[in-house]
Amino acid sequence: MSKKEDFVKFDKVDKSYDGKVLVVKDLNLNIEEGEFVTMLGPSGSGKTTCLMMLAGFETPTNGEIYLDKNPISNIPPHKRGIGMVFQNYALFPHMTVFENLAFPLRVRKISKDDIDKKVEKALSMVSLSGFGNRMPGQLSGGQQQRVAVARALVFDPAVVLMDEPLGALDKNLRESMQYEIKHIHESIGVTVVYVTHDQGEALTMSNRIAVFNDGKVQQLSSPDKLYEEPVNSFVAEFIGENNTFVGEISDISNGSCKVKLDQGEIIANPISVKSVGEKTTVSIRPERALINPKDKMDNNQKGKIEEVIYHGDHTRVRLNLLGNSEFILKVPNSSPNLDIKLGNEINIGWNSHDARALDPK
């Protein structure tokens, strides 16, 4: 099966609710068939609005959305054939689990035998066989969630939308459900558009992540790229932990630049800066900075330990480094004793490639 590249396409989509503020600005997004794309962003960033426009519950103020090359703005939700998993599951409380799953099949006038088969298959897919006669109220949150997923998939939709479906679950359940949804996606190859504000969820499950802020997609790329190579300081800040230095470019050449800080100077990788004198925020992931590095690194600084917090598998060390007293290091607890004690001065090194000079905040 050849995969269609522009299976879902947002083309210059704007959305405003009140005619004054644009909730979504000039959104262009292509989703490949069978892909798992997550829209990630803080609340109010427009991600849910995008999902609702795709589902048909909101109309774009401008632009068009294409599903398999067909414009869908004028198609009502029930004719789009898009499955949806809602934040609060939206199971029909007056129907049994079986009836909930049979609902999309019954409205499509599918024969009774086929309905039985399909519902049974969908239930076993979410390992809930034998729960057909229960009412949703008799199920735990995790089970309700699975029913909601099964119901969105039972009528073989081309696209499934998920609107923060794991938000109401506790941490352990959420993690196991993440894997479960990921596996279901991999096994049936349906296109999934997933909305969340939980970056861990997004990184775990997605093929690609679209980071939303202020109605715009800030970056659309694979999880590893997003984490390792954020293109602006919002993405760097939003995804994972991040140490920042604010400064001014004093020299730029050959894919590296010097950034002058209030105290001292560091070498960084120019991403969104082009000329000397520009203001910049330099972003370094905590695990990229090492204590007493063995290999030669082009940034070497001395910092004073201000706080040590034990985290089980690693220890977090807060340093005062070059005037930044919020500099965080993550030291694996399996690493040799590095004499991490409060008040000690230690050597910190990192490669300039990992210090990304981004736009100023």
């Binding site: 029930h78 939206a90 609902f103 939308l161």
Partner: protein, 417 residues
Amino acid sequence: MSSENNKILTTDGIPLEESLKVAEKKNKIKAFLLVAPLLLFLLITYIIPIGGMFSRSIDDKLTTNMLPKTYKAMEKWDGKNLPSEEVFEAFYLDYRILVKNKTVGKLQTQLNLEKNGFKSALKKLARKQKKFKEGNYKEQIMNSHKRFKNVEYWRAIKRRAPPITYSKYLKAMDMYLNEDNKIVQVEEDRRMHRILWLRTLEIAFFVTLFCFIMAYPIAHLLATIPMKYSNLLLICVLLPFWTSLLVRTASWMILLQQQGLLNDFFVWIGLFTNENRPQMMYNKTGTYVAMTQILLPFMVLPLYSVMKTISPSLMRAGKSLGATPTVAFFKVYFPLTIPGIGAGCLLVFILAIGYYITPELVGGASGKLISNQIAYHMKSSLDWSFASAMGLMLLTGVLAIYWLYNKLVGVDNIKLG
């Protein structure tokens, strides 16, 4: 409160139940004292009056007490032919005492209720008995008025012998016990109570239906529009609640009467000519219109409170799963509002079935309900036992509806808010 018979022991070996009782005793006493005023209030204003109503509605001791000797003598009488001299003598003796005590009027009224024409016969007897000689009372009484020669009148007295009667209940159903102690119906042209009962049910049913048809969209609107508008709209719905019932009914009179605003408007737009103004008041139409408007909030509020709890994502889920808006509404939304519909309909129906002021003012003759008849017997005819009987029948009817509702829908499904 619970009466579970577990034999679990506490750590000290005392049965758990006992230990719990001791521990909870103080709280229970406190709780009881807190509700005691309410219980007392209910007892005085509700239980006792209902008991009183019931005993009054079946009480028939009045005649029994006024004619003690007669009823004793009548025990042996078979009721076929005229009673023996013994009965006549006893009746004369009882009657003489009543005349002396000047309580004879009550007996005359009571027996006249039982059989028409008794009053005049008894009045004549009261005059003539003063000259009665001792002995052979049968002849003397029979000679005082020709009706005493008729065995029917003596049977009528005998029928009043038992101290309790259900004749008031029969009367409310347009039936009575005839001379042979059989339940028969009154003549067709005098069956007014049955018409009233049926009309009460009919009006209550249609008022409930109209309220439902109008309240459902309003409640839905209230539950879905943004808060700032819904508050305003809710006040509009509740405004009638804060206005006196009498004022609201009176304003309907202004609107609906033949020279009223609505009729003026109809004439103005040319719907009717000035001579043919439709009668919209003092008939069923008036009762329907005014009662529907007055009872509307009782339907809106339970519906609104239920609809507010229905997540909008359910309808969206229905649509996203492929149901047209209509199908999604009837398969998803409507079934979820049934608890509110049940509560609203039950509330409106029960209120409507006992409605009094509005039909009294705008109903006219054809828009009157059974409660107006009850009021008539309370205030005008002073037949309190009959009014009590009808009141209890109404109460029983309401309880029956409640029971039926519980069977069909389940009372625990009711949601009032």
